[in-house]
Symmetry: C2
C-alpha cells in the first residue's frame, strides 16, 4: 500500500541524495508517513538530516533486523534507515549469495516486515553504481526517479539506467517504471544545459519534470542538517523541490 | 619505473574522469608514454576520447589477457584500457575470490605483464565507490590524486577516502600516498566554495592544488571526443588543467 520509489542514477553527483532527502522531507511535512532508506555506503542521507542510526541497512539485509528497530525517527512523519561503511560489507555478502536470490533480499526482508503497512511512502536513495545493493533497490521499488545533470556524460548515463531497469524486468521479472526524469544543477545561461534539457524533454516528454536550478542553498543545507524547506524556504531550491513534492503527491503509482 | 597514479573519490561527480582524461592527454602531449586505465563500469574514459576497446579491464583482470592486446592507442603516446558493463561482472568475480587476494589482482596482472617498463605514467580513473575494483586500483597505485568539489558533502567524502587509503596500507601492507587534492567546479563567487577551499587548503597545505574552475568547455569536450587541450585550448579549463599537468611532470613520485 506504500508507494516505493527509488532515486537512481549510477552517474555520480547528479543530485540523488539532495532529491531523496528533500522529497522525503517535503512529503512528510504534508502529513504522509515516510520511510527514507539510504543504500549508499557514503551515508549522506543521515549526514544531511543530522542523524546516525545505531544500526544500518546492513543489519536489516544481512542480520534480518526489523526496520522498526533500525529506523530512526528524524522528523514528524519521517523515519530514516541510515547507512555507513557496513554497506560495503553488505555488497560483498550479497555477491556471495545465490545469484537467484541476491537481488531480491531487500524485497524479502521489507515485505516480511510489513513496511508497506506502516508507511505511505518508502523512498530509497541509491549510490552512484549499478551494484547489487541498487539492484535490490530496483527490485523492491515500483517507481524510479532519475535525477540527471544537464551535461553530455549525463545523457550517456541515462541510457545505462534505462537498460538496467529493463534488465531487472527481464531477469528478475519485476516491473518497475520510470516515474520521472529530474534535470538537476540547471543553469539556463549555458547553451549545453539548454540543449541537454531539450534532449531530455524530447525523449521523456511529460515524464521530464521542470528542472532543479543550480542553487547554493541546496549545497549549504546539509551543513546545517536541514532540508531545504527548513534551511531556506524562500530559495529557488525550496520552490523547485516543492514543485517536485507537488508532482509526487498528485501523481499516483500507476500513471 | 612508471609512475602509477589513481584518480580517486568515492563521492560522485567530483571531476575524476575529467581529471584523468585531461591529465593523461596533457602528459602524453608532452611526450611521456602514458597508459590510461578505466576501472569504472560507466566507461566514461572511452566515451570522452572517442574509443571503445574490443576488450576491457575485465579481460585483463579475470581472463589474464595482456594489456598490450587490450589497450587501444588513442593519441600519440596515449593508450587506453577502456571499461564497460563487464566491470560489474569483474566486481562480483573479485568478491568471490579469496579475501587475501581479491584486492591485489590488478597489481599481480599488471606487474606480470611489465606494464611499468612500457610506460612513463599509468593513470587509473576510478568510479564513485570504495568497491573492490577501486581497492585494486589503490593497491596498484603509488600515488593518489583526489578531485573534490567545493561543497559540504564533499568534505565528508574526503575523510572517507583518507580512511580507505589508511586501511589499504594497514591491511594490504601497501603504501600509497596522497599526491594531491584537486578542488574542482570552483566558483569563487559563492561563499560556500570559498569556505570549502580554505578548509581544504588549511588541511592539506601544499598538497591542495590551485582549483579547477567551473567551465562549460570541460563539460562540452567529451561530446566532441576531445581533451580540453584539443577542444578549447584557450579556455579556463585548458589553462587550469595545464597547470595540473605542469605540477605532475615537475613533481616526482616521492615528494
Ligand atoms: N541544484 C543544486 N544546486 C547546487 N548544489 C547542489 C544542487 N543539488 C545538489 N547540490 C550539491 O551538490 C553535491 C552533489 O549532490 P548530491 O550529493 O545530492 O548528488 P548525488 O547524486 O547523491 O551524489 P553521489 O553520486 O555521490 O551519491 C552535494 O554537495 C549537494 O549538496
Ligand atoms: N570544472 C568543470 N566545469 C564544468 N563541468 C565540469 C567540470 N569538470 C567536470 N565537468 C563535467 O561535469 C560532469 C561530472 O564530471 P566527471 O564525470 O568528470 O566526474 P566524475 O567524478 O568522474 O563522476 P563519476 O563519479 O560519475 O565518475 C561531466 O559531465 C563533466 O564533463
Ligand atoms: Mg548521494
Ligand atoms: Mg567518472
Amino acid at each position: 500500500r506504500a508507494r516505493r520509489i527509488a532515486i537512481l542514477n549510477q552517474k555520480g553527483g547528479t543530485g540523488k541524495t539532495t532529491t531523496a532527502v528533500n522529497l522525503a522531507a517535503g512529503v512528510a511535512e504534508r502529513g504522509h508517513k515516510t520511510l527514507l532508506i539510504d543504500t549508499d555506503a557514503q551515508g549522506n542521507v543521515g549526514v544531511s538530516l543530522g542523524v546516525a542510526g545505531e544500526q544500518t541497512l546492513y543489519h536489516v539485509l544481512v542480520d534480518g533486523k526489523e526496520p522498526a528497530e533500525v529506523a530512526v525517527p528524524v522528523r514528524q512523519h519521517l523515519d530514516v534507515i541510515t547507512s555507513d561503511q557496513t554497506l560495503a560489507a553488505a555488497e560483498i555478502w550479497l555477491a556471495r549469495q545465490d545469484p537467484a536470490h541476491r537481488s531480491r533480499v531487500m524485497t524479502k526482508r521489507l515485505n516480511l516486515m510489513q513496511v508497506s503497512r506502516r508507511y505511505d511512502y518508502v523512498i530509497v536513495d541509491c549510490g552512484p553504481s549499478l551494484n547489487l545493493l541498487n539492484q535490490n533497490a530496483l527490485s523492491y521499488a515500483d517507481e524510479v526517479v532519475i535525477p540527471v545533470t544537464c551535461d553530455y556524460l549525463a545523457l550517456v548515463g541515462v541510457k545505462q539506467v534505462l537498460r538496467t531497469i529493463k534488465d531487472v524486468e527481464r531477469h528478475l521479472h519485476h516491473a518497475v517504471r520510470v516515474a520521472a526524469v529530474l534535470p538537476t544543477f540547471y543553469d539556463g545561461r549555458t547553451r549545453l544545459a539548454r540543449e541537454v534539457l531539450e534532449t531530455l524533454q524530447g525523449h521523456f516528454k511529460q515524464k521530464c519534470l521542470e528542472p532543479i536550478r543550480a542553487n547554493t542553498r541546496l549545497a549549504e543545507a546539509p551543513s546545517h542538517r536541514k532540508s531545504i524547506f527548513e534551511y531556506a524556504p524562500q530559495s529557488h531550491g525550496a520552490s523547485d523541490y516543492n514543485r517536485v513534492v507537488d508532482w509526487l503527491v498528485s501523481s499516483n503509482a500507476q500513471q
